[in-house]
Symmetry: C2
Subunit: 425 residues, 2 copies
Amino acid sequence: MSTLSRLSQSTVEAPISFLMREALARPELISLAAGFVDQASLPLAETLRAADELLASSARGRAALQYSTTMGDGAVREILLNRLLEADGLPSGSRSIEQVIMTAGSNELLYQLGLVLLDREDIVLCAAPSYFVFLGALRGMGAHAFGLPVDASGVIPEVLEKVLQKARAEGNSNRIKALYLTTYFDNPSSITTSTERREEIFEIVSRHNHQHHQLYIIEDAAYRDLRYFGKDLPSLLSLDRQHKTVIHTSSFSKSFSPGLRVGWGVLPKDLITALSNHQGNMNFGAPHFSQQIILQVVQAGDFDLHLTKLRLTYQQKLETMTAAANKYLGDLSEVTWLPAEGGLYIWMRLAGINTGTEGPLFSRALEKGVLYVPGCYCYPSAGDPPAHDRLRLSFGVQSLERIAQGMQLLAEAIRETLAQKEPQY
Amino acid sequence: MSTLSRLSQSTVEAPISFLMREALARPELISLAAGFVDQASLPLAETLRAADELLASSARGRAALQYSTTMGDGAVREILLNRLLEADGLPSGSRSIEQVIMTAGSNELLYQLGLVLLDREDIVLCAAPSYFVFLGALRGMGAHAFGLPVDASGVIPEVLEKVLQKARAEGNSNRIKALYLTTYFDNPSSITTSTERREEIFEIVSRHNHQHHQLYIIEDAAYRDLRYFGKDLPSLLSLDRQHKTVIHTSSFSKSFSPGLRVGWGVLPKDLITALSNHQGNMNFGAPHFSQQIILQVVQAGDFDLHLTKLRLTYQQKLETMTAAANKYLGDLSEVTWLPAEGGLYIWMRLAGINTGTEGPLFSRALEKGVLYVPGCYCYPSAGDPPAHDRLRLSFGVQSLERIAQGMQLLAEAIRETLAQKEPQY
């Protein structure tokens, strides 16, 4: 009998940590693997101005250095909720700030939702592929992630309907606690769930909900602010007029600074107490000082100005990566990718090539000096099976030059792999 | 079947939250209940200087705004470890910084230790009384806190020995995963475990450990820096030369600022991977920006200067509370308290008075305008039974005047309750 808990025994290192170590050990490598944000555009001046402003007032400054309330500072929660309602075209006051929770990044909120909703053997439905850190967290908790197939508009409603019907027929539907969806620029697929699809999904889930069992939708909107093309869409949350079904999670890690650790969410009314009690046991809430920095930059207008600049930065990076992909790989019928309107990733298919670390491409790419995330890391353990011919490319971290250069090296590795001609799997 | 997990169903609001709401609703109340820190001495100038210094360098500033590594920034971990080794009289290098983890306050580390070590029905031994937030967390996880009796030097070794022997005889010892001890100025009792007692406890636990089961000691040292009288003692960790048994947790929440959320710990080598993997799933680690602020204030010497001033502030508050207790209650044989050499609390016994919220004292004190924490909140669910005649008084938050005034009001309530003469329980 181990001294460690079952949770700990099934909690493993994120697969991508191995890639990070590789990148650290060989600084000459061009890592298109890490999901970090662009270093040069981190908001140094904005944060300095906010800290100076905040600490110049002894009342505000001291309050920021004291404990916050467990759910988070009231003024921060109010301003974030109002911005969200405005973006969704809803009247101010249509949701209560009691429903807003501040957490140390949205990942911490996802983790807490897992603890608060899931017992061992419970099921979370999700897109296949999905955000692998959350998949790892579910695995640690002994829950099952069940993957639903996607097309360019998001999870396919008919399959969702079938899965829920089957579970009901088998008397198993109470085990399905949530549907997890990154509705804007999914990590890794970059897919944004279309408005029509949002409505279909919400309708299906609502129809399957009943008095004795609530199936929640966890809407991960971490990348919503990072749109470079096209028009913003109302959130899935905005469809939930009864405040019962959708949990909305968001973050300043991608749009401002991950080092501050400020994420937040909007909870259905029935979950407020559960999350508040849990966070009260765990860590008393998100760092208050960081919450106040965010409040200050938002109030001062610095956040929106920063976001405008940041979007241009990432747009250029995305265009550079796409242009390089077209230039070096455009003639290959085996190579396709979904167009990305935002986010930090390109999700590429290489028909006939096993992209895994044991496959022929990964080691060849490494030899040439470029790293990517094998797509198979991003698939749930059950449901729609993993595709072994995908890879995730991040354009967030590297400079324009290194992105182009990395894509050129990757293309060489792909061409050499294809030239081998042997079937890979 | 509820949609909530078993963990969530057994996670309740901290009992003291009710007291906090009472205090907020009636600002004229003198709360000697909250464990918050002194507002006026929060380090405004020190934090401002550190933020300016940090953000003046674009390399350091941007790094602070980026993700840290999961275990925490290397330079912070190194400086904290070296300070600890120095305080314990151990040579630098006698522990590895790989063993150091940064967390968002030490409470978050305690919570993670619970998740990583405990399955439902597992047992944690602890002092009776103990820190009630951790007791609540254990309850949420479905684990049992088993209380060991204490005297003025800490947990009584003979009882610890007996409990472990009994568990072994009953084939139950694998269920006992940890002994939780706040070894400096315990919350709520203010007891510091004596050096001799530390050695006895460590010897007993080591003797009961064997190849197939490791019983850990969680040493909570959150209050170590807050000593106002007497000499610092080496940590229990310092006895663990094999890096196998003692988990040491510490924090800047009491000694500098709770709003930054910086805690840290030293792990036995066998637990490094488990905690790192878990924190990687949960929130990617403590806020990097806050870690860098702490690094800066420690390196600049501002932390030590601040601590010197802070100790004087709290020493005065402790002396004021003790003087008022002597003045207003010193003649009553029913009223006794342990002398406190540090920390933030006085733990008082009122023989013959039920101090609970349903008892006669609590409502009378509230009428007079003073709040305290009923002692019964601080007892584990099993083991040494709760004492119903204790109360915790915090001197951290209130001014000297309000402390004296609060004690006078409390003394009136106590005298009136005693004058009723009827047996209370």
